[in-house]
């Protein structure tokens, strides 16, 4: 290549380098200024990069190409004769004249290009840079941004625990500072949150979390304590500082205290510890009426949709469904625990759980009612939070209802007399014996048999007290078979249906004893699983029945067996023979009843015996005056607070200044406010801090007095209503007036 073009390219390069250098100069100036102002190296570097990019974008040195360079050269070198462009064109495409000119220009440029300089503003850039640097130095010297800086500094230091000497004389001694503080909150394991490091000493976290403080001091200190609501807990000295762990169970406040080498005590500000309780799961049932009614012919299905949410994770959730059958006294309940369609993964925070409740599969019939609700547990330790939804109802309507009724017009209660007492039985039996000659044999036998049945019913009734089930099984059925023979089958069917889903141990046992064996099997399996079996009173088992004490039991047992005999003879149509047994049974029953009465008697009031001769004589010579003297402490839980408010008002009105006696007052006020503040630390923390600062003489300023007084006034509860006397001046003229009023009354 010819030297002219080479020189042109060189010139072009030079120009570009100078442009970049110019940009760099500007950027350096800006960066230095920023660095000096902010005193932050990183900010300087950042501003440098930004400035370089910005200046380059303005100047765009890469936009210079050889053509523009050529134009420049043309304009500034006369010898180029506006032909520099020729150098850039391939030689072959030029005419001869052009080639000649090209050569000439090339020669000239080789000579001249060294002499001219590419256009640049380096000097200007240098001046600007120097100016910026000078400005930066001036700003730094004058500390113009001190306030801004201090704000920034404070922002970073706000979370740093600051210590203040409790005694203000020792300003000159070294104040140990915290060189590093590490506060970490370890969440309970079930929350799966692990340990979180926090910077703010005001800690707000879930109850049960463990908080650990690690404080490192820059000077040696002794007796570092954590003051948690007046309880001083020493910090353990470790390799790299002082460490303490506290379990956060309830809200409160804390501060640190330590002594430096000179034995001067320092105390930190007050910080809050706020324990947020783990909320129980929330259950929402979607799109379901509280009451759902079905006709018998309907498709009896309840679609249950619910969302269960918990703040840290659900442990378990299920549906408790209760089916009630029958009405009035014979109502029976059956409870079932149903699982949701979806399996619930432990620890999930929110779940949408659904279940289709088919009333048919629950074996519900006309008139039956289903109550169900959802119960959900979270994973809180040691005791899980539980919450349950509202109860929803599904009812299959019963359009046919039967009711026993007593006719309003009839004066006599026609209700059947199921049980006759033993005494009644004896009277009836004696009457039967007396009537025997005057009635037919059939009637006699029938009446004797009836009495036998009554005797049995009575026996069964007493058997109940023994928890004696087996003995009673047929009783109601017999009643039915005798009185409503046709309904027998139906009744039995119904009972069987019930029995299939009965496992209600405490229920009324009258009806479900036919299939006793089956149930025993079921019970056995359940009982095998039940580890508590040995520790429970099981009233189902007659052998374990504790309704009566042992002697009573034997008596009752005897009475029952005698009743057997009495019944036997009545069934055999031998009322005369039955009668002695009946009398004997009556005697036992009386004894049992009496022993029960003694039991009642025992827990009753035992009046002191009064001498018969002094009763009702009306003599009062032994009656003395009675005296009682009592001093009741008036407890005003906020007395110190009230006094502190009044005292602060004096400070604010500048009628008085802080003195020694006030120390005790403000300490007491602080304690009283702390009691209020436990429930709501964040609300009162600042007031409490302010109060502490007044107390330990770190901020006895008008602004703080006002702030604390305002907080205290807001914190104080309503004044209790208490009567009292007012001070009043009695004026002669007023008294005179009142006296005159009296006269003319």
């Amino acid at each position: 290549m010819e030297s002219g073009k080479l020189h042109l390219i060189k010139f072009h390069k030079r120009w570009q380098i100078l442009s970049y250098a110019e940009a760099a100069l500007y950027a350096i100036g800006i960066a230095v200024l920023f660095y000096l102002v902010s005193k932050n190296l990183w900010l300087g570097v950042l501003s440098f990069v930004v400035a370089v990019v910005a200046v380059l974008f303005i100047q765009r040195p890469w936009k210079h190409n050889l053509a523009t360079t050529g134009t420049y050269v043309d304009a500034h070198v006369d010898e180029a004769s506006f032909s520099t462009g020729l150098l850039l064109q391939p030689e072959d495409s030029l005419s001869n004249l052009a080639k000649l000119q090209r050569y000439k220009v090339s020669e000239e440029l080789s000579k001249r290009l060294g002499a001219i300089h590419p256009p640049n503003k380096l000097k200007q850039a240098l001046m600007v840079t120097l100016g910026l640097v000078l400005l930066g130095i001036v700003v730094q010297q004058l500390d113009l941004f001190k306030s801004v800086e201090s704000v920034l500094e404070n922002a970073t230091n706000e979370t740093q625990i600051q210590f203040i000497a409790t005694d203000s004389i020792i300003e000159k001694s070294i104040i140990p500072k915290i060189s590093s503080q590490d506060i970490s909150v370890t969440y309970p394991s079930y929350t799966r949150k692990g340990t979180i490091a926090v910077s703010d000493p005001n800690i707000k976290t879930i109850a049960g979390a463990t908080v650990q403080w690690l404080l490192v001091f820059d000077n040696s200190v002794t007796e570092v304590y954590l003051d948690r609501m007046g309880e001083l807990i020493p910090l353990q000295k470790g390799e790299n500082g002082y460490r303490i762990k506290q379990v956060l169970l309830e809200s409160g406040f804390y501060s640190f205290k330590f002594k430096n080498e000179d034995g001067i005590e320092f105390t930190s500000d007050l910080f809050s510890l706020e324990a947020i309780p783990d909320n129980p799961p929330e259950i929402e049932i979607l799109g379901l009426e509280q009451y759902t009614y079905f006709d018998f012919s309907d498709k009896k299905v309840v679609e249950l949709q619910s969302t269960i949410t918990d703040d840290y994770g659900i442990d378990e959730a299920y549906i408790i469904a209760t089916v009630s059958k029958g009405s009035g006294e014979s109502v029976k309940f059956r409870e079932e625990k149903l699982k949701f369609k979806q399996a619930i993964t432990k620890g999930v925070k929110s779940i949408r759980a659904t279940k289709t409740l088919d009333l048919n599969t629950l074996k519900m019939e006309v008139g039956d009612e289903l109550y169900f609700y959802i119960e959900a547990f979270d994973e809180k330790r040691p005791k899980r939070n539980v919450s349950r939804s509202e109860t929803y109802f599904a009812v299959i309507k019963d359009t046919v209802g039967e009711q026993y009724g007593v006719e309003g017009t009839l004066g006599v209660d026609q209700m059947p007399d199921y049980f006759r007492s033993q005494r009644q039985l004896i009277i009836d039996t004696e009457k039967l014996i007396k009537d025997k000659p005057s009635i037919t044999i059939t009637e006699f036998k029938s009446r004797s048999n009836e009495l036998g049945f009554d005797q049995k019913a009575l026996r069964l009734k007493y058997g109940q007290f023994m928890g004696d089930e087996s003995e009673m099984e047929e009783a109601p059925e017999e009643i039915e078979s005798e009185e409503e023979g046709e309904d027998h089958d139906h009744a039995e069917d119904q009972e069987n249906v019930i029995k299939e889903f009965m496992h209600d141990h405490d229920g009324d046992n009258e009806h479900n004893l036919v299939e006793k064996h089956e149930h025993h099997e079921e019970n056995d399996t359940e009982e095998a699983e039940d580890p508590l079996h040995d520790y429970l009173h099981n009233h189902d088992d007659p052998e374990e029945s504790t309704l009566f004490e042992e002697s009573l039991k034997t008596k009752l047992r005897k009475a029952l067996s005698i009743m057997w005999d009495a019944e036997l003879h009545l069934r055999l149509n031998e009322p005369e023979k039955s009668l002695p047994f009946q009398y004997e049974a009556l005697k036992y029953i009386q004894e049992i009843k009496n022993s029960a009465r003694i039991y009642v008697h025992r827990i009753g009031f035992d009046p002191p015996p009064i001498k018969e001769d002094s009763r009702l004589t009306g003599k009062i010579k032994d009656i003395e005056n009675y005296r009682k003297n009592e001093t009741k402490e008036v407890e005003n839980p906020f007395e110190a607070l009230e006094n502190a408010v009044a005292r602060l008002e004096q400070f604010i009105q500048q009628e008085s200044t802080f003195n020694e006696a006030d120390n005790a007052l403000f300490t007491a006020a602080g304690n009283e406010l702390a009691k209020l503040a436990i429930a709501n630390p964040s609300k009162y923390l600042q007031v409490l801090q302010g109060l502490k600062r007044i107390e330990n003489n770190t901020e006895r300023t008008m602004a703080n007095y006002k702030f604390v007084q305002k907080g205290l006034l807001a914190a104080l509860p309503k004044t209790a209503q208490v009567p009292g006397a007012k001070k009043e001046y009695t004026d002669d003229i007023n008294s005179l007036f009142l006296k005159q009023l009296e006269v003319y009354d």
Binding site: G724, T730, D732, D745
Partner: protein
Amino acid sequence: MIDGFSFLQKELIIPILLGGLVVFNIYVWKEWQTKQRGRFVVNSIVALITILALAMLILEPTKEVEINDSQALVLTDNFDEVAKDSLLNHYKDIKVLDYNPKKSIRKELDSLTNVIVLGDGVEPYDFYLFDSIPTTYIPNAAPTGVTRLNYTEQLVLGNELRVSGSYSKPIEKSFLVLQDSRNNGLDSIQFVGDKNADFNLSTRPKVAGVYIYQLAVKDSAGVILETNPLPIEIQKKELLRVLILNTFPTFETKYLKNFLAESGHEVIVRSQLTKGKYKFEYFNTPTQPVYQFTDAVLQKFDIIIVDAETYVSFGKSAKSRFEKSIAESGLGLFIQPSDFLFNSRSSDAYFKFKRDRISTVPLPEFAAETEKYPYQFDEQLLVEPIRLGGSSNIAAYRQMDNGKIATTTLLNSYQILLNGKSEVYHGIWTTLLDKIAKKKGQVVSWKSNTKIPRIDEPFHFQVRTNVAEFGVINEDRISVSLVQKPLLPSHYSGTVHPKETGWNTLQVENDSTSFSYFVYDNIDWSALRSTANIAANKKKFGNGTKKNRTVVVDRPISLLVFYILFLLGIGWLWLSPKLSAEG
């Protein structure tokens, strides 16, 4: 001076005359020496005239003149510029005076024959200035702000602080907020519409002491537009000594005595067990059985609570001792009601009842309802109802000289307590017993007669006391002169001019009893002050047409004559020696 002549520079008369005399004597002496005898007399007379003319030039003689057309416009606070301009247009020669209570305008007023006052008016304590001048007052329209204000300046802890008044031309939707001394909001109302609004705010202060509550006006965004101070003094209630006498123990007494004892009062309960035998209970007080009701025994108690049976069964002498104690020492007697009380028809019963067959009574203020006997109080002179929870016919007291006897128709009030509404129960009994409790004596009673005291303005106060040698000193321990009323020797009044804003104190000499009054800033309660001034000025200056008064004024006599005399005299004296020399 003589015949209505006078001099403006009165104070210079003697030195000038003396000086003149000296100059004249020197002249005479000099003339004598030069022995121009021929003209000695003439020259001396001319010199005398010249010196007199010079003296007159300096002394500026005046002459009394009668005038009756000198008017002035006195501009007071918040005057209307438009009104001022039109007045100036109408009365050409009217003088304009700026009224400032701190500067006297007495001198200017003296020469005026009639005055027009424009604006809020002159301060009432300056009215005397206008006593002899026919004055017309052109009042301002009512200002914006609180134009009427009443509030409890002194109260006891537990009682309500009530602030009422009216606010003129409020900004729509703005709030009037009663704040405590540290600007915690206590009660507020919102103004609807821009009409004058009456307001009633109340709160129960929480702490005893001396505080400056605030009445603030805030706009709907909560920005404070204006605040005005409400200085209040809250005193603590004093503990009571209570005696309860019952013929048999009742639940009513049991709960009442517990309430009183737990509040720290000294309570003695005597309930009869049987004839001559009593059960005594002492709370917060040493054992001292009460059998006989002598004056000394009764004197010890502030309140005696008796059931109707006990009180009726008292003998005549016991009863009269009770009444004496009530009347003289202000003892409070509370009679616990029973059917016995309502059915007794004795003529000397304190209260008369009529049957109303209503057995419950609502207490609207407590949102509660309670049982009562089916009776109500009959109207009687000296029997005043006690309002309980917004109901006014369930309790009443009868004034008996200094003391009071009270009773109620409430039945089984302890059930309110058992229902868990202890606040209602405490409220009822506090109201009842507060009403009748014996007043603790106070030696001096103070009363402020100036509603809004300000710096350098007169503050009038009233003192009542039975102390004989009585004096009041201010903060600088300087004695304040008091005016004793001739017919009521225990009543005094006085005036001070406070020097500082905030709390100022007046003290009884040689005693700790003191009285604090609050001196307001000039900007405080300006609307209230304007309203009061306008009203006072209207009243003072009335509306009727006024005749201009005639004023005698000293008019300066033109000094030209004296000047010419002086020139001529000097000229002669200069010329005379030359003439004589030629001659």
